[in-house]
């Protein structure tokens, strides 16, 4: 699994995850996100365009991130879901608690709208 983080705004980042988010790899993502939250990130875009697989471990990280953003009055958006990942997220009932956009531009825009004055 590879994680690529890009700064999109003063406190907004996009995180591109490649490969698989399973019990083995999810802790890595959680660690990286925690670090970003510690730096004051309140706008988070998770780009899963190259994510092939997600298990409950991965979903755990998503819940963690979502709760964190909510409590910080931030905004979280997912984008680029592949079919299988989307299916798993749907079955787990995550569609109702996460913003899901087709691509990164729209995800950025959504986050920007949610966080006006952030210069995104």
């Amino acid at each position: 699994m590879e994680i690529k983080i890009e700064q999109k705004g003063p406190r907004t980042i996009s995180v591109n995850v490649t490969g698989r988010l399973d019990a083995a790899t999810s802790p890595e993502l959680e660690k990286r996100l925690t670090a970003c939250f510690g730096e004051g990130t309140i706008g988070l875009i998770l780009n899963f365009a190259e994510l092939e697989y997600i298990s409950s471990a991965g979903l755990r990280v998503l819940i963690f991130a979502a709760k964190k953003m909510k409590s910080a009055n931030g905004s979280l958006a997912l984008c680029g879901l592949q079919e299988y990942v989307r299916e798993v997220i749907e079955i787990a009932g995550f569609m109702t608690i996460l913003q899901i956009l087709p691509n990164e531009e729209q995800a950025l825009a959504a986050v920007g709208r949610a966080l006006p004055g952030q210069g995104v």
Binding site: R20, D22, A23, A24, Y53, S55, S56, A57, L59, R60, I63, F64, A66, K67, K70, Y84, V88, I91, A92, G93, F94, T96, I97
Partner: protein, 769 residues
């Protein structure tokens, strides 16, 4: 009465004769009656005319005499009394038909001083009687016979009267006025005695009961058979209409009831003009008709006798004519009842009945012959049918039927069925094991149908089965069989064949197609693909032909469908063919079924299409499914460390690829196994020691994946972890239990049991339908 031919003839002939006779009789009677009436009319008229003319003459005579007297008196110098008397006597004596005469003078006309002077002479028998009417008692001036001529100056007849004081009899008087020098001096009269007249008229003979009578101008009876009515009764009181006619001086001939007897009669009446009288003659109807009736009676009696005789004759004749026909009818009935030995005696006459008899006899004879021939041919046909039935059974027994034995062997399922168009057919199929790992299958179609094709079919099948046992490739086998067939093929028959070999371990099929319909590959995903190869000629045609072998590979769950053109060329009642299109559509629906269902389903589709149309060609099909059940399970072992789950992805990917599983099956299995293993590793072991978890993977023929997880930890059902609430809002979302939830959702079946100190957890994922 029974409606036999004889009765019909009798009724019709005699019946029409009788009607005709009755008609003639009636016409005759009618016309004869008319004749009689006409005769009577003529006779009566003649008679009446005769008498009226006679009496007219007599009255005319009286008129003449009176006229003569008047004239004489008018010119002759005056007579004295005795001269006058002599004159008058002379008149009577010279004219016997007159009864009396009187010359009555005007007052003082005969001699001065003689106021009344009317000498009257009448004949009483031979005597002449003189009466002086000029008396005080007999005031002749007042009488009509004097008054009227005096007043009118013209002679006139009086009404009939009874001359009391004069003639003492019924009379009629003609009075003529006497003029001298332009002055009326008196009246001369002449009397006619009507009693004589009446007697004469009464004496007229009219048949037996007829009669004649005379009436006067006012209808009084002058002459009548009933003398009491004379001068006392008027005809008008008895027969008003007749009286009317007679008193109006008409003549006629009428059919009425007569005044005397009140019976129907013909009455002819003529006027006696001179004296204003009318004569009638009565002809009684019954008497006139009695003659006619008598004649009629005789005629009817004669006729009846004749009719009865005719009845007898007609009856006899009808019977004699009808007898032969009745005999024919009886004979026909007997023959129809089954008695074919019946023969009619030849007819004696030479008419149509004889012809019919001849024809009948010939017909019976021919019928006997044909019945015998029919019985023979029916027996023959039955024999052939029973032999064909045996042949059918033999043929059916040649084709292998034992599908079950092969199915229990691992790796494949097979089913085939063949329905010949006639009792025996030219299609065949075959399958047999070859070595440990291969199964041979054959389908063939001999040119033609029926017994010749069936015999050739038996040869082909046997040759191929023998040659195939040698183990050569399908192509080489077909080349060999071709050579053998050509060696002894006088009938120039040929056969299209597919011979294939399936490797039950690998699913690889090698086959050769000699001119036969290309088979269909039915994949477990439901696709239907026709297996094309270079066309090769049928067996038994080309000497030295060689055949190539083609290789295809079946995955577990794939099937091969072989058939003969009896399916694609099956026609319905509108002559439309079933054709490849419909077959492919049907196979599409049956692709994932077992071979038995594929065959049954495709046959059913064809049957439904053709409806009631006759089967024109043999229909055969064979279906072969590679089940891949020969594959063993794969065992994996994991230590109870969370990082062990990293191996899952690669292991399962490789396994799926090797077994040809679909991607969603592999991915779901990976996820489920990761979740389950994670839970077991986290919660299943309490002692902190190293344990191993055994995972067993197995695939099914339909591409399904069975997973079995076994561990020796504490009793723990991975499913017991509380399920997550997937509908809760974010704040209440918990991570725990998501794994279990996902597992349940993504796998089709999950199960747990504890056995022999082990937890055994199973799951199954099926390929998408």
């Amino acid at each position: 009465m029974k409606r036999t031919l004889g009765t019909k003839m009798l009724i019709r002939i005699w019946g029409s004769t009788m009607i005709l006779f009755l008609g003639v009789l009636w016409a005759g009677s009618y016309y004869s009656k008319q004749e009689v009436i006409r005769g009577i009319e003529n006779e009566s008229k003649n008679l009446a005319q005769f008498y009226t003319e006679k009496y007219d003459g007599r009255f005319g005579q009286a008129e003449k005499i009176a006229g003569m007297i008047a004239l004489h008196m008018s010119v002759h110098p005056f007579y004295d009394e005795s001269e006058l008397t002599e004159y008058m006597k002379g008149v009577i004596q010279n004219n016997p038909e007159i009864y009396g005469t009187c010359i009555a003078f005007e007052p003082e006309a005969f001699a001065p001083g003689r106021a009344l002077f009317a000498p009257y002479f009448y004949a009483k028998g031979r005597e002449l009687v003189f009466v002086q009417l000029g008396t005080e008692q007999y005031n002749y001036f007042a009488w009509d016979w004097y008054k009227i001529p005096k007043q009118t100056g013209k002679p006139a007849w009086s009404e009939p009267y009874f001359d009391t004081g004069g003639g003492e009899t019924i009379m009629i008087t003609y009075s003529a006025p006497i003029f001298r020098a332009g002055r009326l001096i008196g009246v001369a009269t002449v009397d006619i005695c009507l009693a004589d007249l009446a007697r004469e008229v009464n004496g007229i003979r009219v048949l037996q009961t007829g009669y004649a009578f005379i009436v006067s101008k006012n209808g009084s009876f002058i002459s009548y058979p009933d003398a009491s009515l004379i001068m006392r009764q008027r005809l008008g009181e008895l027969a008003p209409e007749l009286a009317e006619r007679m008193t109006s001086a008409a003549s006629g001939f009428i059919d009425r009831s007569d005044p005397l007897h009140r019976k129907r009669s013909w009455i002819v009446y003529y006027p006696i003009r001179s004296a204003n009288l009318s004569l009638a003659i009565v002809y009684p109807f019954l008497e006139v008709m009695s003659r006619v009736y008598a004649f009629e009676g005789t005629a009817v009696r004669l006729g009846l006798a004749g009719l009865l005789t005719l009845l007898l004759i007609v009856a006899l004749v009808s019977r004699s004519i009808a007898r032969p026909i009745v005999d024919l009818a009886t004979a026909a009935r007997k023959v129809a009842g089954g008695d074919l030995d019946f023969q009619l005696p030849p007819a004696r006459s030479a008419d149509e009945v004889a012809e019919l008899t001849l024809a009948f006899n010939k017909m019976v004879h021919d019928l006997r012959y044909h019945m015998a021939a029919l019985q023979k041919s029916t027996a023959e046909r039955e024999r052939i049918a029973s032999e064909l039935d045996v042949a059918f059974r033999i043929q059916q027994s040649i084709l292998p039927r034992d599908f079950q034995t092969f199915s229990t062997a691992t790796g494949f399922e097979i089913f085939a069925h063949s329905v010949p168009a006639r009792e025996v057919g030219g299609d065949f199929y075959d399958f047999f094991p070859l070595g440990d790992d291969r199964i041979g299958f054959v389908i063939g179609d001999v040119s033609g149908k029926g017994v010749p094709a069936a015999l050739f079919m038996a040869i082909c099948r046997t040759l191929l089965a023998a040659v195939a046992r040698g183990g050569s490739s399908p192509g080489d086998c077909l080349s060999h069989v071709n050579a053998l067939l050509l060696r002894e093929n006088e009938m120039q028959m040929f056969v299209t064949v597919i011979y294939g070999l399936l490797n039950v371990d690998t699913g690889e099929i090698q086959y050769a197609n000699a001119g036969h319909n290309r088979p269909y590959l039915l994949t477990r995903d439901g696709a239907v693909a026709v297996q094309k190869s270079e066309p090769q000629i049928a067996l038994g045609v080309l000497a030295g032909a060689t055949y190539a072998t083609r290789t295809i590979r079946l995955r577990a769950g794939d099937s091969l469908f072989l058939y003969t053109d009896g399916i694609t060329e099956a026609t319905d009642v509108q002559q439309e063919m079933y054709a490849a299109g419909r077959l492919e559509a049907a196979l599409g629906k049956l692709a994932r079924s077992s071979p038995a269902d594929i065959i049954a389903g495709s046959f059913e589709e064809v049957r439904r299409f053709t409806g009631g149309a006759e089967q024109s060609d043999d229909i055969t099909a064979l279906a072969l499914t590679f089940t891949g059940r020969a594959r063993a399970d794969v065992a994996l072992r994991f230590a109870n460390r969370l990082d062990e789950t990293e191996k899952l992805h690669d292991l399962l990917s490789a396994f799926g690829r090797e077994r040809g599983l679909s991607k969603d099956v592999t991915t779901a299995a990976t996820l489920a196994l990761e979740e389950i293993l994670s839970n077991i590793i986290r919660y299943g072991f309490a002692d902190g020691a190293e344990h191993f978890i055994d995972v067993r993977l197995a695939t099914g023929p339909g591409g399904e994946l069975h997973i079995r997880v076994e561990d020796d930890g504490r009793p723990f059902n991975p499913l017991d972890v509380a399920a997550a609430d997937v509908h809760a809002p974010l704040d209440e979302r918990r991570v725990g239990g998501l794994g279990v939830y996902l597992t349940r959702k993504m796998m089709d079946d999950v199960g747990y049991k504890r056995s022999n100190g082990k937890n055994i957890f199973t799951m199954t994922k099926r390929a998408k339908a």
